[in-house]
């Protein structure tokens, strides 16, 4: 914007151009803020991952004595569910951009269902693990400290994401977004992919190595 042409909007007499410019600028700010929020959230996970790797390599062997190896096959299935939900979310956003409302809604509902399925799977995994560990978190030692804290924190993020997507679905039904102005949906998609990426990290360090 050259200075000479920078006329400020006058209240009550805004042109479409001004409104669009304000929207674009506001969206830009929010996008940057949201990305930085995700960076700081990543640091939170990284700190716990550091703690896990530190405890894992503190010379007691892993898994610690008395703890069985994790059930990789089940977790792999559950991971596929979560990664699939990332794909469906992508389709939801693309359909929104092209104005296909029904397709958008179906893909978004599929995403939410897959997210809930993942949480259910995680609950089942916790239940079986806890049964083996005699139903106490504190009795699970440094294994439980790192595994349940990290995957639990991720599970809370998935839960928050499911709530976020549900709110977005209701908002879009109520007409809050248009195919041109949909920052909330962008943020929701970014967040959901972020949760996916965190799970890739956690799956690798808990089940694969």
């Amino acid at each position: 914007m050259a200075l000479a042409s920078s006329s400020y909007p006058v209240a009550g007499a805004q042109t479409h151009g001004e409104v669009d410019r304000l929207y674009a600028e506001t969206r830009d700010l929010r996008l940057n803020g949201f990305l930085l929020f995700m960076v700081s959230d990543l640091v939170l996970f990284s700190s716990f991952i550091f703690a896990y790797l530190y405890l894992r390599n503190s010379g007691q062997g892993w898994p610690p004595p008395g703890i069985n190896r994790l059930d990789v096959a089940f977790a792999a299935f559950n991971s596929v569910v979560l990664f699939g939900s990332g794909t469906t979310m992508h389709f939801a956003l693309e359909n929104w951009k092209h104005g296909h409302f029904m397709k958008y809604a179906n893909w978004l509902i599929a995403t939410i269902v897959l997210g809930v399925t993942f949480l259910g799977g995680q609950g089942y995994e916790y239940y079986t693990l806890m049964a083996r560990l005699h139903h106490t978190w504190s009795g699970s030692g440094i294994f439980g400290a790192s595994f349940f804290t990290l995957t639990g924190m991720h599970g809370l993020h998935v839960f928050a994401g499911v709530c976020f997507l549900t709110v977005l679905l209701m908002q879009s039904v109520m007409g809050k977004y248009t195919p041109q102005k949909y920052f909330g949906l962008t943020a929701g998609t970014l967040y959901w992919h972020f949760v996916d990426v965190i799970w890739v990290l956690l799956f690798s360090i808990f089940y694969l190595i």
């Binding site: 914007m1 610690p64 030692g141």
Partner: protein, 561 residues
Amino acid sequence: MSVAVHGEVHGGGVADHIHPEPQTFVRKYIFSIDHKIIGIQYIITSFVFMGLGGLLAELIRVQLMHHSGALVNPDTYNELYSIHGSTMVWLVIIPLLTGGFGNFVFPLQIGARDVAFPWLNMVSFWIFPPAGLMLYSSFLMGAPVAGWTEYPPMSLQGAAGTSMWAAAIFLIGVSSTMTGINFLVTLLKMRAPGMTFTRMPLFCWAQFATAPLLMIATTALGAALAALFIERQFGVPFFDPTKGGSPVLWQHMFWFYSHPAVYIMILPAFGMISEILPTFARKPIFGYKMIAFSSVAIALLGFMVWAHHMFTSGLAPWLQLPFMILTFFIAIPTGIKIFSWLTTLWGGKIQFSTAMLFAVGFIATFTFGGITGVFLAAVPFDLHAHGTYFIVAHLHYVLVGGSLMAILGGVHFWYPKMSGRMMNETLGKWTFWLFFIGFNGTFIPMHWLGLLGMPRRVATYDPQFQTWNIVATAFSFVMTAALLLFFINALYSLRNGRKAGPNPWNARTLEWQIPSPPPYYNFKHVPAVFAAPYDFAEPLPYRGLEGELDPSVPAPVPAGH
């Protein structure tokens, strides 16, 4: 991103972030979304907590007047210094420098009408006083006893107040993270047209280097605090060695935050000094770019040196060496700043106002504290001095002689802008000299005590150390008197100070070109910027400040779109 060539101004971020004028008292002064009011709220709250933390400090000093402990039993003494340290770090210095002065000053300096997320800013502030009260409520249930660093296993054995401490600091961390995100987006996106990075005032550069530290390091601390809380409340072992955990893990997690936090507590102070010195030396700041870039260099290096706090924790010797060398490296950008400030003074037409006295005092005491920091970075010396009063002396030289000195200078400098009235200069000069003498008298003897082997964090000590402890306590009363005088001056001047006018110091950054106190909209027109602000021989590098208020209130874009 703004680029300007030959006086032409292109680009420019979100300039017009104007709010409707707040109508009610509550919207204007309590739940305000105006960055200036929020900044002042932070400053007042932090100074209240400073009164409490200072009271604890005096109790500590009185206790140490006699070698067998003059006042309280050792358990209570542990609580006193733990809460004293936590208060001063998290409730006083960090909020004053970032939420307080950061909020008030830098949006004005970059020509913005507010920060990027005003509502988030309000939430950040309103987390802070309740969290502070939570910290103090821990006295009711047995306050933490392991110092502000709360090393396990002692922190695992502390009373219930330790969990309250962890929760309170966690909340303050959330507030800091939000502030960091807010400031970073504001600095990146909301500079006035023509305000390129190399035209930003140096205080803005300092905030720019600090914001990522707030955002990243504080979150890491949040993880450590959450782990401590979980371990204390649910018995899940992270840090307890008898259950397979590792106390050294806490030290890594804690210092990965708390070393960058040291720079959170000093970089904005550097920025304040870089504003005060050229204004009262009537000379362009020397080495503008070097000062600006060295802040960023310090922030980056700050993430790579945390383990120098852990040389006595059984860190592998091959790991100690790189941490020692990287820590030495930090002396280079810091030295660049100090020499640039000295060169700014060289040949200047110096006016020793109170703010300038504090700035010059800062250079002296901070350099002293910085040099003892280089001592401590050296592994052999650290093994000798670790856990002694030498550490106490060093950290107070950089945090009180550094950060607090800059803050007091900053208050005297920006008070006219905040309140519209001047502070009393005679009282101000008394404040400075009492503070300077009291401060040095309190903390210089601690270097000697430390080298002689007096351990920190103990309620009683060997009788041979008594003389210097009495000296330190006596001078600490002088320092307290100075701070009381400062509070009296600030309150008295609010009503009785001389009217300041827009620019009492003849300063050149943008905040001085608008009325004092600034109106809710900050700038009638968002100005265009043509150069960095420090060239005192040239006319002001701004255009478009004058004229009628642009009445525009942009149509609010509904949230969440």
